[in-house]
């Protein structure tokens, strides 16, 4: 009889299983989620740019949509994703050169604090006019 193995999709879920896991695992999962989000955004961005092909009319219609509160909230979420992915990327790069492995949890705290502070500033700028 063959031993039991969980199916592939179930095992992918382990990337995001944060139950009782520590900061490093949160950073790992966040990096994956933000990475996927940024790739999706990249394609979305290309689609939006292709509106230019439709002339000034279609572009102006998009610009007015982009100023709606919902899209502005999405912009802030996008900025949060880019910040987390970028700053955590620096953390991962440093630890990958064997620098600061022992303090990687502290690094992640710094990443999140810088993200929150920067994001608060960005949100004020976006919604404060």
């Amino acid at each position: 009889m063959e031993p039991f193995k969980h199916p592939g999709f179930y095992r992918v879920g382990r990337w995001f299983d944060l139950r009782r896991r520590k900061a490093g695992m949160w950073a790992y999962a966040l990096n994956r989620i933000t990475g996927i989000g940024l790739v999706v955004y990249l394609y979305l961005h290309l689609v939006v740019l292709s509106l230019l092909l439709g002339g000034p009319g279609s572009w102006n219609a998009f610009v007015s949509l982009a100023r709606s509160p919902l899209v502005l909230v999405l912009d802030v979420i996008l900025f949060a994703g880019a910040l987390i992915h970028g700053l955590n990327g620096v953390r991962v790069a440093l630890t990958s050169f064997s620098r600061g492995v022992r303090v990687q949890k502290g690094f992640f705290s710094v990443v999140m604090v810088v993200t929150v502070v920067t994001l608060a500033f960005v949100a004020l700028k976006v919604f404060g006019g």
Binding site: K5, M25, Y28, K105
Partner: protein, 252 residues
């Protein structure tokens, strides 16, 4: 005494996996392995789990307690029981499940063998017999360690329990990944040898598709390791060594 409910993962070949619950009574000083023993003795002799030394030396009783990898023999019930909910016991992740809490560890030991590390302790200095049973008038012989012993590190602590392989999220989706213990063994073997050919072979293993570059820095192996082996630290040290060698090569 503690009245605890254990929720144990059950699987037998040909059956669907499920959980069974066992109400057990154990002393407040009991360890999880004691509760498992109780469940086996009182309720179900078909319940399978590994255990041997009961003092964190053999690594056999590694499993997941409430989702987190631990050795059942050194985990106190009071440290994992909230006093209300059942304690959930699962087999290690990222290993094929043979029966209940028993997993197939052959892949793990194949990885350890790839580094040419001794799975048994043959490589360690052996105490002279006279230490155990000193003959009259004979002093125990002092152990002279090899010169490079100063470079030994805490990987020697590895008890091959497989906990780091279970905790690693990358292992879940790359079955050929050497994994934290396998790569730490390669690092340890690199330290142990003075043979450049052997070092090149070991570093080539670490540099492969399923080697150090597959690690994505979750660091759960460090958190879960019951022996402070620091596998991720060793993976990063291997990366540093590989990068340094590449720079040297391209500088020539």
């Amino acid at each position: 005494m503690l009245d605890v409910t254990l929720e144990i993962f059950r699987y037998k070949p040909g059956e669907e996996p499920h959980y069974d619950t066992f109400a057990v009574q154990v002393a407040e000083t009991a360890y999880v392995i004691d509760a498992l023993d109780e469940a086996w003795a009182l309720y179900d002799h078909s319940l399978t789990f590994r255990h041997a030394c009961h003092h964190s030396s053999c690594g056999s009783c590694a499993l997941r307690i409430n989702g987190i990898e631990k050795l059942a023999c050194i985990t106190r019930m009071t440290d994992v029981w909230d006093g209300v909910h059942p304690i959930r016991l699962d087999p290690l992740r990222n290993f094929p499940i043979v029966s209940d809490l028993v997993v197939d560890v052959s892949g793990f030991f194949q990885r350890m063998s790839a580094s040419h590390m001794q799975i048994t302790r043959d490589a360690e200095p052996i105490l002279p017999v006279s230490v155990d049973k000193p003959a009259l008038g004979v002093q125990a012989e002092a152990i002279s360690l090899p010169e490079n012993l100063t470079r030994f590190n805490r990987f020697e602590n590895c008890i091959e329990c497989g906990i780091c392989m279970s905790a690693c999220p990358t292992m879940a989706t790359d079955e050929k990944f050497f994994g934290p213990a396998g790569l730490a063994a390669i690092y340890r073997a690199c330290q142990q040898t003075d043979d450049p050919t052997e070092t090149a072979h070991l570093l080539a293993l670490a540099d492969g598709e399923h080697g150090v570059w597959r690690c994505h820095s979750a660091f759960e192996c460090i958190e879960a390791c019951p022996q402070a082996v620091d596998p991720a630290g060793k993976i990063m040290a291997l990366r540093q060594e590989l990068i340094a060698r590449r720079f040297k090569k391209s500088g020539r």
